[in-house]
Amino acid sequence: MEFFHVKRDIPFMSYGKITTAISLVTFLLAVFFLVHKGLNLGVEFTGGTVVELQYSQSVDLNQVRTKVDALKYGDAQVQALGTTRDVMVRLPNIKGKTSAQLSNDVLDTLKLDRPDVQIRKVEFIGPSVGDELVSHGLTAITLVCLGIIAYLSIRFEWRFAISAIIANMHDVIIILGFFAFFQWEFTLTVLAAVLAVLGYSVNESVVVFDRIRENFRKPNMRGRDVPQIIDNAITATMSRTIITHGSTEVMVLSMLIFGGPALHGFATALTIGILFGIYSSVLVASPLLLMFGVTRENMIKPVKVKQEAVV
């Protein structure tokens, strides 16, 4: 069985201007929402107390909200957690009150109204931990980028490394843009997903680059110009691209559907990452490569690499 057998190369590069323009717009939109709305940072980053409650029967959120507001604990948030029985209450840090006291206060107040409520989870994070997480997260991202650039520069060439990393950052910023636009909660697991996407999306670019490198060396590709070679590489790897991403996405969808609220943010971030990962490796990284002026000579020079390819 074959779904994606394309006989003739699709001229992706001739659409290069349009696709880069589109991605530039989405990118700028993402940046705009990030700056304008900002991320709805989870309690791990901001500090504060989160209480997850479960009722044995469904509950009216407004009722809970009024009760919690009556406690006057500053800017409290009450949200449903997937079902009408699960409720999440978020409280800012309050001086002189421990989270145990806070959560007990909340529970006691709510119990007066509805005795069937019970605590499922309490999280308290002090304010100092969050800053550290942000700095660690940024360090990790920087390190990943440097590592990838270094590796790709050695295995390929600097043009490939830079294109891949730009395409990569494009994906990451767009995921963040989505989280900013919809004000989804940005938690530690979402950060893990974003970092996983960094690896995942570059993986995708590398597969295409690998084909480009191979094409440059193929004797029967001699007559083709660079855009044609890239088109051929993308077309040749297209069916792999779709199947691989399809499989990964099936896994992620399974997490999204069966994984419950705890895996929700993680799976959402990955879904966006996978979708834009395909797009960016094909329609951002490759036109960039062309823009940076990659030539056959760039890839043919090192004799050592050539031998590897023959093996």
Binding site: L188, T244, F258
Partner: protein, 608 residues
């Protein structure tokens, strides 16, 4: 062509068998158990205790299914939680306060697997419920406390050497001693360099400022901080024992943080209360008036005294009457080490700080020929370790307590005195409570999402790539087992993000197989013979697989280095998964394909 040498097939078989063996322990589940551990540093868990608790359980009518003993605890395994609860009560009643008895779950791994080193993955708190604390050690306070002590010791040192000094000033990050002239500056600097090899000694010789300053060198400062954290970890261990928690985690994290995880604990308030409590030493005078003691034994304790028991060498205790007034506390202890006294008996050698030393000198000066009691206060209850008679005034801040104790008791007492109090105060910076039902649900959900996703991918691969798809699916199963086996062997704690990483890794692992299968198809399309197609397909795909996986691994490693908690759990699985997926996709699936096609002479087509 396309045949592996025998050793490669054997290698595949061996790795798969090993993977199955070490994945197995995860399938057996857990049984309820009762865990008995020591609640005091002076009480040890040993073979005698094991016999005793088995005896108690058997007498109560519930012989344990299995008995497991390790360094710190004895665990008795039972069939159901009902028996577990009854036995727990029976043992608790029989053993009293010296031991903490906790409910636990023990893996049901068969004995032969355990002997091979098989153990199931540890579950993180998010999967089994409990309390998690992240505590931050107040380093400034630790440094400040240490400088205070140094100031006292400087004074003593200079006095011993008969060097005249002026004011000793404890400043923000140094101790400054004012001196009279250039000569005394040199003398003092020399003496202090000898006395404090870890500190930087800086003499100043100005016309109107003769002084010596002592500061911590960066190395000694780092040492001081790491000691403070280590001591706090030890102290927390002692305290958590009191809670009777099964398998608590107390670990240093980063430079000055400590993670405490108490599985199964729901009452955070009580947990916090105990974490903050201190075990310490008290020195009090003994009331040796026999008539008072007789009266006290008769139930009529004099107002200013308390009746305590004096632990003898054989564990027998004698009543002793001590005064209520505390002369000296463990706060004044700088160090405690096991030692031997003049008679060669085991003893604990204690070094007091300067104020402790002067109090002790005064105390011994005023009470020659009387007895003083060294009382170890743990869990709010005192126990007299020793009650020696004071022969003469003791100066210099070095005290030996030698009473009736074994060498081991001396060591434990020293440890307890050192670890009894925190080296520096701590703040809770993070606290999480996960309900047990939520934990169970998380496991269930994680498991289900992985299973359904896996099934969907496997079925698709088999339909789309036929024989090659079947080989891919088998390679994927092998990959899952390699991953689970490695995680179990390495003792990685499984968390919910870890489960997510398993699912994601499986989804991504199929990439290598897809690359190979697509390449084989392509080679066939280009008119290669089936054998050449297999050969070239794998060879060409390999370069791509290597590049793409190494770049993914770079991202994974960065996560591992900079992540903590949830992210780290994710990163571990992610990194190991990349390595196992390369092995299974390139090596195992090739082995299968070689086995299927490699031995056919005339091969006209491939089912791909």
């Amino acid at each position: 062509m396309n045949r592996y040498p025998l050793w490669k097939y054997l290698l595949i078989i061996v790795t798969v068998v090993v993977a199955v063996l070490y994945t197995l322990p995860n399938l057996f589940g857990e049984n309820p158990a009762v865990q008995i551990s020591s609640a005091r540093a002076t009480v040890k868990v040993d073979a005698a205790l094991q016999d005793r608790v088995v005896d108690i359980a058997t007498k109560a009518g519930f012989a344990p299914d299995a008995v497991l003993t390790d360094e710190n605890s004895v665990k008795l395994r039972f069939k159901d939680t009902d028996t577990q609860l009854k036995v727990k009560d029976a043992i608790q009643a029989a053993l009293g306060d010296d031991y903490s008895v906790a409910l636990n779950l023990v893996p049901q791994t068969p004995a032969w697997l355990v002997r091979l080193g098989g153990k199931p993955m540890a579950l993180g708190l998010d999967l089994r419920g409990g309390v998690h604390f992240l505590l931050e050690v107040d380093m400034d306070a630790a440094v400040s406390k240490s400088l205070d002590k140094t100031a006292g010791e400087v004074r003593r040192q200079l006095r011993d050497k008969s060097i005249r000094y002026g004011k000793i000033d404890r400043q923000r990050d140094s101790v400054v001693v004012q001196l009279r002239d250039a000569q005394t500056v040199d003398d003092a600097a020399n003496a202090l360099r000898k006395g404090f090899p870890n500190l930087a000694v800086t003499p100043t010789k100005d016309a109107n400022n003769y002084s010596v300053a002592l500061t911590f060198t960066p190395a000694s400062l780092a040492q001081l901080k790491s000691d403070a954290v280590k001591q706090n970890v030890t102290t927390l261990h002692n305290r958590v024992n009191e809670l009777g928690v099964a398998e608590p985690v107390i670990q240093q994290q980063g430079e000055g943080r400590i993670v405490v995880e108490l599985p199964g604990v729901q009452d955070t308030a009580k947990a916090k209360d105990i974490l903050g409590r201190t075990a310490t030493l008290e020195v009090r005078l003994v009331d040796d008036d026999q008539s008072h003691l007789q009266a006290a034994l008769g139930g009529n304790v004099p107002d200013d005294t308390v009746l305590m028991s004096d632990r003898g060498r054989n564990g027998q205790s004698a009543p002793i009457l001590v005064r209520k007034e505390v002369e000296l506390t463990g706060d004044n202890i700088n160090d405690a080490q096991p030692a031997f006294d003049e008679q060669g008996q085991p003893a604990v050698s204690i070094t007091l700080d300067s104020s402790g030393a002067s109090i002790f000198r005064q105390l011994t000066h005023d009470n020659v020929n009387k007895r003083m009691a060294m009382i170890l206060v743990e869990k709010g209850k005192g126990e007299v370790v020793t009650a020696p008679v004071i022969r003469s005034e003791i100066g210099g801040g070095r005290v030996q307590i030698s009473g009736a104790m074994t060498q081991e008791q001396a060591r434990d007492t020293a440890l307890l005195l050192r670890a009894g109090s925190l080296a520096a105060p701590m703040n809770i910076v993070e606290e999480r409570t996960v309900g047990p039902s939520l934990g169970k649900e998380n496991i269930q959900r994680g498991f289900e999402s992985t299973m359904y996703g896996f099934l969907a991918i496997a079925v698709f691969m088999m339909i789309y790539y036929r024989v090659f798809g079947v080989s891919s699916a088998i390679a994927l199963i092998a990959n899952l087992m390699f991953l689970l086996a490695l995680l179990s062997m390495l003792g990685v704690t499984l968390t919910l993000p870890g489960i997510a990483a398993i699912a994601l890794t499986l989804g991504m692992a199929i990439d290598s197989n897809v690359l190979i299968n697509e390449r084989v198809r392509e080679e066939l399309r280009n008119g290669m013979s089936p054998h050449m197609s297999i050969q070239n397909g794998y060879a060409h795909a390999f370069a791509t697989i290597l590049d793409s996986n190494v770049t993914t691994l770079i991202a994974g490693l960065a996560l591992l280095i900079f992540g903590s908690g949830a992210v780290r759990g994710f990163a571990w699985v992610h990194c190991i998964g990349i390595v196992t997926s390369m092995y299974s996709a390139v090596f195992v699936s090739r082995g299968l394909i070689n086995l299927i096609y490699g031995y056919r002479r005339r091969l006209s087509s491939l089912a791909v």
